[in-house]
């Protein structure tokens, strides 16, 4: 094949590559600006040794306004506290999650809530449950020998 033909293809391919990457970046920007409330935020830093002794609220769910909830969740080896939470369809829930021991992963099956739970950080993330049903809360960061059993539950009723 002629050298100049190859070079023309080559330039075309490079332009295509760059254009493709730019388009992807535009999409990412678009989703970030509109939908990405599930991108975890840091509420604050915390001394992990105080999580169970008053540095962090006792694990619970509270209604802060009609249909708006705050859930304080602790991930520890090898369970979520509270192990089970109940909401209604359409509830907007802000989760505050932390760990007193090692890292865990707060992953609500079937949603985009997927947060690294890091000792020393209080993660803050928000979602609205749109479908009724049982959602598993699966630990998806290795945390020790019982990691595969670290599974909680969220029940969303009509």
């Amino acid at each position: 094949m002629d050298k100049h033909v190859i070079e023309a293809y080559e330039r075309g391919w490079m332009l295509f590559s760059l254009a493709m990457i730019l388009i992807f970046l535009v999409f990412i920007g678009y989703t970030l600006s509109g939908y990405a409330f599930y991108v975890p935020d840091a509420a604050r830093r915390i001394d992990p040794t105080t999580v169970r002794t008053g540095g962090f609220p006792k694990p619970h769910v509270e209604e802060v306004a009609p249909g708006k909830y705050q859930a304080y969740v602790i991930g520890q080896a090898f369970a979520w506290l509270p192990g089970e939470m109940h909401f209604k369809v359409g509830d907007e829930v802000t989760f505050f999650v932390t760990s007193p021991d090692v890292q865990h992963g707060f992953y609500i099956h079937g949603t985009n809530i997927n947060v690294q739970v890091i000792p020393g950080e209080v993660a803050k993330v928000k979602t609205t449950f749109k479908r009724p049903g049982e959602y598993l809360v699966i630990c998806n960061e290795y945390c020790g020998i019982g990691h595969q059993n670290m599974i909680g539950k969220i029940v969303v009723e009509e």
């Binding site: 094949m1 080559e10 990412i28 840091a42 985009n112 950080e121 290795y142």
Partner: protein, 562 residues
């Protein structure tokens, strides 16, 4: 006289021996690490073979211990040792000069000592912290010390490559660096910048902490330092394979590389943009500003460009080779490639897997999309395509040529070897389908799901169909690994030697557009300048975050939970 000649088998070019030692130590590590792979695949087929494995290897206490060995020995040790051996040899051969031989041997010994020290707690189940060793999980000090020695050895290799290049430049004023050497030096310089994060994490935080000198470590700080190195390490795995694809593959396929300056540009881009991208592994982390996550996203997307260019160059070089051998048609030329050549077969299959891997990688790097797949089986499903297929197959192909070339021993059963390569590719592609899909269906990675508590049994039942694929893949890969490793070790251990005339040569590819007289090549050849630029950029994108975290240092005590 006979003993004398045997002793001096490497006398013509002593770097052959040290390179061989690196490669062989790498293969030994891979053999042990890969042993656990099929068992992990079967775990994701809901088959728990660990009670049985324990009867065979009583020191293996859990799935997670095997997984730690798998990650450390394969991804950290094997890949690094192959880079150290293959790049050292190819660069020395091309420059027709010896590296500092004493220093090269020192690097090998550092690897060996580091490997043995780290292996002790790994085998006794005292460092089951996985290959990411996220604190506050706390392993035995020997694990961190051994791992640190292995990294130090890689930094010695940075020095070796740069020193050799510098000496060559002094002796050849005004000449452009030959291509393969350019790629080798750029790779090592890239790693020099990339490794800083891990070195700081190990030396300042983990080693003192594991020895009891520090009360606690900051988990987020450690994660951030880890991923400073943890993404570019992927390119440190990949670039030695690219060196084979650019530097050897076109020639072995009977053709030429299309453009020498373009190959340099690709490696230069990797040198500059490989490191400032680590936050794309931390999209799910609280405590890192979304602004900086976005900056890393943009840079990550940019590093996809040199890989896209590579896909083009390799495909074009292969096509030129096949047409020169009489290939016809839009795709018909493919049948005319010399598929019996180990490098052609293994690299081409590897490159095909790499295309699929690259597409998945763009998903992972897409900030807002990552939450769908983060820490699900999608992730290991993804990275077995670039690292365990593209890189590993290329290294297998290279080993099948390099070992005979270095030792003068002929490859044992080339047919079995080729069967092994094709099976490995098939198994990995099958596993990729299973693991990617299960990830989308919500199955977590790094989970001993085949040993789940009785009250939870069946929670992943909706993925049963895909589990079957993992079961098939694990079985195929067990056979593939056995065939390939059998051939390579049987080649090494045999007594038979080729006569000097039969010795397989290793030739570098020629380029259609060469480097001569190009101004761009001169500019790209100022590697010290580009190296400094790479360092500056990585400092800019990391320092604000690192300083902020460090100034509010959280002291987390360690745990042993396995």
């Amino acid at each position: 006289m006979a003993t004398l000649t045997r002793k001096d088998a490497y006398a013509d070019f002593p770097v052959k021996k040290v390179s061989l030692y690196f490669v062989v130590l790498g293969l030994i590590s891979l053999s042990i690490g890969t042993l656990f792979g099929p068992f992990q695949a079967l775990n994701y087929a809901n088959l728990n073979l660990y009670p049985w494995l324990q009867k065979l290897l009583p020191f293996i206490k859990s799935y997670y211990q095997g997984l730690t060995l798998h990650g450390v020995l394969n991804a950290i040790v094997f890949t690094q040792l192959f880079a150290q051996g293959a790049l050292l040899y190819l660069q020395s051969k091309e420059m027709k000069m010896l590296p500092l031989m004493g220093v090269a041997w020192a690097a090998w010994w550092l690897d060996l000592v580091g490997l043995v020290l780290a292996a002790i707690p790994l085998l006794t189940n005292d460092a089951t912290v996985l290959y990411t060793f996220y604190p506050p999980l706390k392993g035995h000090p020997l694990f961190y010390i051994g791992a640190a020695l292995i990294i130090v050895s890689s930094l010695v290799s940075v020095f070796l490559s740069v020193e050799l290049w510098y000496r060559w430049k002094k002796q050849n004023p005004g000449k452009p660096t030959p291509l393969v050497s350019y790629m080798s030096v750029a790779t090592w310089m890239m790693w020099g910048v990339a490794a800083i994060g891990l070195v700081v994490e190990a030396v300042v935080l983990l080693i003192p902490w594991s020895l009891g000198l520090l009360k606690g470590v900051d988990p987020l700080l450690s994660r951030t330092l880890f991923w400073w190195t943890g993404h570019p390490i992927v390119y440190f795995w990949l670039l030695p394979a690219y060196v084979v694809w650019y530097g050897l593959l076109p020639q072995r396929a009977g053709g030429k590389l299309i453009s020498d300056p373009l190959a340099r540009l690709v490696f230069l881009a990797f040198l500059i943009f490989s490191s400032p991208v680590g936050f794309h592994h931390q999209f799910a982390d609280p405590g890192i500003d979304p602004f900086w996550k976005l900056v890393h996203t943009v840079l990550t997307m940019m590093v996809a460009v040199p890989s896209l260019i590579t896909a083009f160059s390799i495909a074009a070089s292969l096509e030129i080779g096949a047409r020169a051998r009489g290939g016809r048609g839009v795709l018909g030329w493919i049948t005319k490639l010399p598929w019996d050549d180990p490098i052609v077969l293994a690299s081409t299959l590897g490159a095909i897997a790499f295309i699929a891997g690259g597409a998945g990688g763009i998903v992972n790097a897409s900030f807002t999309l990552d939450y769908v797949v983060h820490n699900t089986t999608w992730i290991p499903g993804h990275f077995h395509l670039p690292v365990a297929t593209a890189v590993t197959l290329t290294h297998f192909g290279l080993a099948a040529v390099l070992i005979p070339h270095l030792t003068g021993k002929p490859l044992v059963s080339p047919g079995l070897f080729r069967a092994g390569i094709v099976l490995w590719f098939t198994g990995m592609m099958t596993m990729a389908i299973g693991m990617h899909t299960m990830g989308l269906l919500g199955v977590p990675r790094r989970a001993w799901i085949s040993n789940i508590a009785p009250n939870l049994e069946g929670i992943y039942g909706h993925t049963a169909l895909w589990m079957v694929l993992n079961g098939i893949a694990g079985t195929i890969l067990l056979i593939a690994a056995t065939l390939i490793l059998y051939v390579l070790f049987a080649t090494l251990l045999q007594k038979k030697r080729l006569s000097p005339e039969e010795l397989p040569e290793l030739e570098f590819a020629e380029a259609i557009s060469g480097p001569e007289g190009r101004r761009s090549v001169k500019v790209m050849d100022r590697l010290f300048f580009w190296w400094a630029m790479a360092l500056v950029i990585v400092l800019i994108v990391y320092m604000p975050t690192l300083i902020r975290i460090w100034s509010t240092f959280v002291s987390a005590p360690g745990y042993r939970l396995w």
